[in-house]
Symmetry: C2
Subunit: 514 residues, 2 copies
């Protein structure tokens, strides 16, 4: 352990207690992956998957449960049958329209220094979305409510590891179904300062969210058209079905120049073939078929190729995540997205029922695949538990530690004269140590990542302090973050306008249902 | 969930209980990494590290605490000073001798179908080595003894995920220090059937181990000369010191054509510079300097470039593992080893005090770096806990699950007509499912990895069954493996000779101390 010194303006090392009590860390800036992506498929395999995907669209078609969407497909050369709601797309049409989508785009937050670029080698982490339940060590799994959703947003903000503020971190079932999207939008806008995900179910909800985003950013819908500021995820109801509410949301997003993250729900063995190759072919066809629609609506509007292929447990039918099959599908999905020059989305997910070793090894496998497949958006990367049925407070803290570790791993390894330290190496005698060297003392405070959760004290000290596992320690971390939470600044006039807009829309919806 | 069917010779799916109770899985065969290695350093950075390493050997030198080893260095052109015990090596000498080492070699087990190739894109997993303590959920951390060491070897054998049977999985402190190497060798030979690690401390121990290996394989020392059959790890006592006992072991191994795994103990900030670049330079210099010695002794004898660079916790001085710094050093170490056409060794390690989320996320990061750096030997990959101070029974089971997941991830992703499943995709209607399809039923039993430890049942079922975490379930797995353990067959005549050899050597050592 280096001795304390304080000469020549050198900083003293912080007090031990001071450091170990602090759970705040700098928020992660934009992240670029310096490594080449891991490639699992050769050219011939990619061609076969692509050909199968195109044949699926040509011979099998998609069931498009929106007359308006079918009309758009028909107007752009697809074969359409309104009775069966089927749409058949030739590969030339798919190629033509998918080719209009941008390979990267900028996402605008309400605070411009939280803007990010989606595409290329950039990676954005997003928190868990969609679970009906929430859990912590203090209260066992229960249904979500709005107060808990707000706490989850606060903890995510405090953890500072995400680039996007998520969508429904848990479903607020205590709020009215028809208007809860307004409360959720308001929570994301005021409790965080990043771009966020709106629920893509229905046109009205998207338009409401867009009005609120425009107000929060102090701009109008025209400016939003060329400045993407809101995401939504559009799941294909695999196999080969796209539901009307989602199509309505997707069309509203595309018309307004906002990015849809088009993600087929291809769980191998259930909603897609039991083989990963077959599931990838289906995922590719479904994603490209729907992505083409966005470009028919507004050529050049941002869109993301979403991969979610995993396998189900063939014993129970339950989805599995972070499995070898998941990893392979994620790596291959990245290659396919790059083949079509589209930004790629995957996830950091697991199927464990507790924040235990299983939760972490499954998440860890999913996460390395997400990062090394060059995923541009890694969804569910903070707080996902139990196959997505539960948002876990402790899992959020564990995930944040894992994301910070990856973030630091992706920073450049400096190899210059000072870093190479030849003088220090020559100065320390054989069998000596480097603790007291100037080269060490000048750098040791910032040389290594300072973890929030990891406990590196020796066994005896750790045992005397209660033998707490990482999950038990995580419980203290999120509570501290919640206690320390400070709402990011927002112009009071804008907040007041947002409240007025929300009140007006609630009243309209209650009155007219629209 | 697929319904049971049994027609046309199709296998029925196994009974649920039958599968979930079974903890046995096929032993992993040899493993080759199909992915390109992840490269973190460019050519210029590699050149700088190499140059710094060479300057360290030229200007700083190594302290070589064996007169015989120094004489060998001197005879081969190095500058030697016997008073200070220092050896200075020019880069031309290092290049010349390191260049004689093979880039790959075959390791012979006593059962030939457990032979493996070390080098190229091959990966061998080895269990934890060296801890003084052992722990399980049943009995808290305590010192090791021989009975427990044997149980650890049995569990590793039962898990079936390693390619090497390890060295001291725990120190058997109940046995006499001077003769325990004989008991440990006997345990590895009879309780397992793989090649294994002998303690490299001292010439006598290595020669005893070699005699036992030769007997076990039914060959003589001459045959061993061209058939590597025993490993040892030689740690450089960083910085720049090589101890006499280890040099004696190393020389005995090299003379007999057996592989030394030369591993500097470069913990950045303590035994090497606080920067990863500096630690890599020192690691490279120390490893190459000692590897050169092996080739001066016996040109072409197998040797492995070992990387163990990590950082210490600058708050406590304790080593940290699986950190971002560890990952970077592991990836870079692989590039450096390949630069010198040497097989590479790294580790799957963590610094947690419990088999918890921290243990797994640190191990997970170390493991992906080990695999994706193209490590040929991944040491400590089963059972390592607490920075290597403890062998954990439950961690063994968790690690085995992680290794099986990696193994499966590294198997080829088949993309042929049958796997692409176009017929099944076209047959299942939009919104339908694939559970009942022939394509599914023909494959579902073997389509996906069948985990030992992961529990994918729904929350309610899991809760009714006791809400057991993965670590708690692991406790049942290793006990089952121990109960089911069957000693691999060995010729009784050979075993009898081994026992006689051991008895004779014990008597000699007790009488003469040699």
């Amino acid at each position: 352990m280096p001795e304390r010194r304080n000469k020549g303006g050198r900083r003293r090392r912080p007090d031990r207690g001071e450091r170990s009590n602090g759970v705040a860390r700098p928020r992660l800036p934009e992240l670029t992956n310096p490594f080449a992506p891991v490639e699992i498929l050769g050219e011939e395999a990619l061609e076969r998957i692509e050909d199968t995907a195109f044949r699926m669209l040509e011979e099998g078609g998609l069931e498009v449960r929106s007359a308006r969407a079918r009309q758009i497909y028909a107007d752009n050369g697809a074969k359409v049958d309104d009775e069966s709601q089927m749409v058949w797309l030739g590969r030339d049409i798919v190629r033509e329209f998918v080719g209009k989508a941008p390979s990267r785009f900028k996402m605008h937050a309400r605070v411009s220094d939280r803007d990010i670029t989606v595409g290329g080698a950039n990676i954005a982490f997003a928190p868990v979305g969609g679970p009906p339940n929430v859990s912590s060590l203090d209260r066992r799994r229960q249904s979500g409510d709005f107060a808990t959703l707000c706490d989850l947003i606060r903890v995510v903000h405090g953890l500072g590891v995400t680039h996007v503020s998520g969508g429904g971190l848990v479903a607020p079932i205590d709020l009215a179904v028809d208007t809860r999207h307004l409360d959720v939008s308001m929570a994301h806008i005021t409790l965080s300062d990043q771009a966020w995900f709106a629920s893509g179910i229905g046109r009205t909800r998207i338009l409401d969210a867009l009005d609120m985003v425009a107000l929060a950013r102090g701009c109008d819908r025209d400016q939003l058209l060329c400045e993407p500021s809101l995401y939504t995820v559009i799941n294909v109801n695999s196999p080969r079905r796209v539901d009307e509410d989602l199509l309505d949301g997707l069309m509203a997003m595309a018309e307004n120049g906002q990015p849809n993250v088009v993600t087929p729900f291809t769980l191998a063995g259930a909603m897609s073939p039991v083989t990963i190759a077959g599931s990838l072919a289906q995922q590719t066809g479904e994603a490209l078929g729907v992505i083409a629609l966005t470009q028919m609506i507004r050529p050049g509007c941002p869109v993301v190729f979403g991969g979610f292929t995993s396998n189900v447990d063939m014993k129970s039918g339950a989805p599995a995540f972070g499995t070898p099959e998941y990893v392979k599908a994620t790596l291959a999905g990245g290659q396919i997205a790059r083949r079509f020059a589209l930004p790629y989305r995957s996830s950091s997910v697991n199927a464990s029922n507790a924040v235990d070793a299983q939760a972490v090894y499954e998440t860890g496998m999913a996460l390395w695949a997400a990062v090394m497949s060059h995923s541009n958006m890694v969804m569910h990367s903070v707080g996902w538990l139990e196959g997505g049925l539960t948002a876990s407070f402790e899992k959020m803290v564990v995930d944040a530690e894992m994301l910070r570790s990856w973030f630091e791993t992706l920073q450049p390894l400096e190899v210059n004269g000072q870093e190479l330290a030849l003088d220090a190496i020559l100065k320390v005698p054989p069998g000596g140590h480097f603790f007291g060297e100037d080269h060490t003392l000048e750098r040791y405070e910032t040389a290594f990542q300072d973890p929030v959760l990891s406990d590196w004290r020796n066994f005896e000290t750790w045992e005397e302090d209660g033998s707490r596992t990482a999950t038990e320690r995580a419980n203290g971390v999120w509570k501290q973050l919640l206690a320390d939470y400070e709402r990011p600044p927002i112009d009071p006039a804008i907040e007041s306008e947002l409240n007025a807009l929300m009140a007006r829309r609630k009243s309209e919806i209650e009155r007219t249902g629209l």
